[in-house]
Symmetry: C2
Subunit: 480 residues, 2 copies
């Protein structure tokens, strides 16, 4: 296994030395993705895709429990359809891929490869919803989308990515607003309870909202290096698209009304967020609920009689409740420890002749390497508890990072000083609401507005930039 | 509910009158798909997509149980990559969609939207497989593909469709051949046991095989109108692509060898096959294992006290084992019967005041409308049995259709006569193996070769066309 052994030698670049390099090392060495000759697109390898499948499954269950239904819309959008909503086309046209030929024939009209599917859902709803009885329509789709990004990084920013996009229409603005908020809460809850990743919920500023939206809400996570990562967005459209696409219905009084609309999405970048929230210098650290393997069983002194058999027996027994694998290869135990640490497997189970004698095994946590000698009699309960504890510890560690890297600032100088001394983080500072000040803060400090968090603090009465009366506290920061 | 009531009036065109119109009526009225402004592409609506999700889930479990892993390859293929294998590019280039611009910039090289992903998998395997220890690689992906078809029909032939494509590489030809056969068997078993659809397994003739394959195997189903539908294919590539893409590995003796390769796929056209295998003049008839709703509960005399409550109680009870819904709308019972017959729900459960008195309910089978008065005490077992019986009955009916429409023919005249008198079907006739004769049979009788079935019969010693010694019995027919 010359190839595999090499991995132990090629250490992962340490985070402190070069965070960006650490990230790409982990992504590559944990075998999450690979590059191909298709620039800016990724090959998602089995281990990476298995994480995505676990995200999909658990998120999809939550969507369906709230009455959403999955559909599938075409990959292509005719140019004329994309152009129907003015702000939307302005926002997306510069970054779409255009199909101009089908076979050897030029197309009569260019088709863009969907960067997002509002226009297709609008067309569909306009054609199929007629009465208030048809509302609400709560559709979602899991698919690929394309945005022609100039600079790309696996999971974080790629020309093609996988996502889900929910698109709903409602009879009233109130219902649509409630849906927008509900889905933001679903995302936040998912990040916190499934990915063990705390997030800040808030509203995007006018300059930062989705092309065509009345309001964009987002959840912002903080990565290990203090940079923000937008982990999900939920948009309220009012009836803007409805007017552009003539999406009407007859209400209970038989009057024609415009529909009220939302959309919301999360993407494969969640995997990037997992890596940069929980990973360490030994590689990936996976939240137990999305770990393709939750427990890796490693036979110790496997040449001794009965060890491999016992290990196999444990795998079969534990598979009923957990995602478990064993490594029976002839690599050394040390090599295996390093390998599954790098892959972020939450628990390592070691079983050797002495353990068998004592009817026990050793469990080692990935996050802090704590060792537990556990009786085989109540192994399932111990694993359940440890996975749960580990998940909570990941959350607490990430929350600690946010606490350490949140800077409450009353002046531009203070912002600059905090960033210079402590590095990237969430800068909390008051804002007057003017785009001019938003731009100026960015220009002077380097950090942009991430969101206006729902949980407001009253840091002062005045805008950190112009000194005029403040309207909101804003989270500022650098972002992925 | 003026809109909904209309459906009862607009009857579905009868199959006997116009099978093609019957098909599109069912597809539209059972709310499986809708059209959009994107020509040749379909909007898959919730009910249609739910069927696809059930197909995906059950097929994916079978793939994984055999050691396959899911991955995700890019949507785009650079033109130069597509061109690496001569036969492959000749086969696919005429029907691909070309992306020529990213944003406002023309691309340095055209990218085609994947019509299939052999080339991307080849590139990946060439880069990542080095030693016999890395083999086999058993990858699969669920994704969308695009082929620029001129004539399209929902599910059967669309410019974009959803599918799974398995791509595997092996150390030896024997292993690759075994994989090709194994996956064909998985497909046949899936069609027979999940979709209740009998299929003929066989090999495609040289002229009909996949672009770049050494051999293509297929399963052919027969639709209600006697036409064939290719329901899945499995290709053996030998080392043809391996040579074109320089896919080598070092074997146990440390010698450089080419990999041996397969690919296999099934698509959303399986939904078309379900419709045309089992449907009738009242609409869809769904195989129980892929029916989004297996049991529809309909309260009878719902205004009477306790009826809706009892119906709701049954839904909650049965949901633990089945996919169940109730219709509490104020539409008439007759309207509801027609609605869920059209949607192909396998079992209707009627519950009214008299039934409640007798501690029973009425179950009605979708396929033959047989009525069963069933005690509520052992309802789950009765439903289980009925769903199973119904599935088997669908299979038997479809097998009967094949038996009735299989014509063993010894001459061109006999072929013509059978087709003229009995309509489309599987024509069994001997063939010398020459492409010239294959073309001539098509020219003279209108039917093409579907496959050389694994189950050969010795109908005569000579080719039905030229009279020279026969090599194979071929299934001929018209196909979707």
């Amino acid at each position: 296994m010359a190839d595999n052994n090499k991995k132990m030698v090629e250490a992962i670049t340490s985070m402190e030395e070069d965070f960006a390099k650490w990230y790409t090392d982990v992504v590559k060495k944990a075998e999450l993705v690979d590059y191909s000759s298709v620039k800016g697109c990724m090959v998602i390898k089995p281990y990476g895709y298995a994480i995505w499948e676990l995200i999909q499954k658990q998120m999809d269950e939550r969507f369906k429990a709230l009455g959403h239904e999955n559909v599938y819309m075409p990959l292509f959008i005719p140019e004329s359809l994309l152009q129907k909503e003015k702000d939307h086309v302005e926002g997306f046209a510069p970054e779409v891929a255009w199909v101009t030929h089908g076979g050897s024939e030029p197309l009569p009209e260019r088709l863009c490869v969907r960067p997002t599917s509002e226009t297709l859902f609008c067309e569909h709803y306009a054609a199929t919803v007629h009465s208030y009885r048809d509302l609400p329509k709560l559709y979602n789709q899991w698919c690929n989308v394309v945005r022609w990004e100039k600079t790309t990084r696996p999971f974080l920013r790629t020309r093609e990515f996988l996502w889900q996009e929910g698109h709903t229409v409602h009879a009233t603005a109130e219902e649509a607003v409630a849906e927008t908020e509900q889905m933001l809460n679903v995302y936040a809850d998912f990040c916190e309870n499934v990915l063990n990743m705390p997030v800040v919920k808030g509203r995007k500023t006018e300059s930062d909202k989705f092309a065509g939206a009345v309001a964009t809400y987002a959840i912002e996570a903080m990565m290990h290096d203090g940079k923000a990562l937008q982990a999900g967005t939920s948009h309220y459209f009012g009836d803007g698209f409805a007017r552009a696409f003539n999406m009407t219905f007859t209400d209970k009084e038989n009057k024609l009304q415009y529909m009220h609309q939302t959309s919301w999405g999360t993407t494969t970048r969640l995997i990037g967020a997992i890596i940069m929230s929980h990973g360490d210098n030994n590689g990936l650290v996976l939240p137990p609920k999305v770990a393709p393997t939750q427990v890796i069983v490693i036979p110790i002194a496997a040449h001794k009689p009965g060890v491999n058999e016992k290990a196999q027996e444990l795998v079969e027994r534990l598979s009923k409740r957990f995602r478990v694998k064993a490594d029976f290869s002839d690599n050394s135990a040390g090599w295996k420890f390093a390998e599954y640490e790098m892959k972020g497997v939450p628990l390592r189970l070691e079983i050797g002749p002495k353990d068998i004698e004592k009817n026990q095994c050793v469990l080692v946590r990935r996050d802090n390497r704590e060792k537990y000698f556990v009786s085989l009699d109540n192994l399932e309960e111990e694993i359940e508890t440890l996975l749960d504890t580990l998940g909570k510890a990941l959350y607490e560690k990430a929350a600690g990072n946010i606490a350490n890297r949140t800077y409450r600032c009353a002046s531009i100088e203070e912002i600059k000083q905090n960033l210079a001394e402590k590095g990237d983080g969430f800068v909390l500072a008051m804002w007057c609401g003017e785009e001019e000040c938003e731009d100026k803060v960015k220009e002077l400090t380097g950090v942009g507005s991430r969101c206006i968090p729902f949980k407001q603090e009253h840091l002062s009465d005045t805008c950190v930039c112009c000194g005029k009366p403040a309207k909101h506290m804003v989270v500022w920061g650098n972002a992925y």
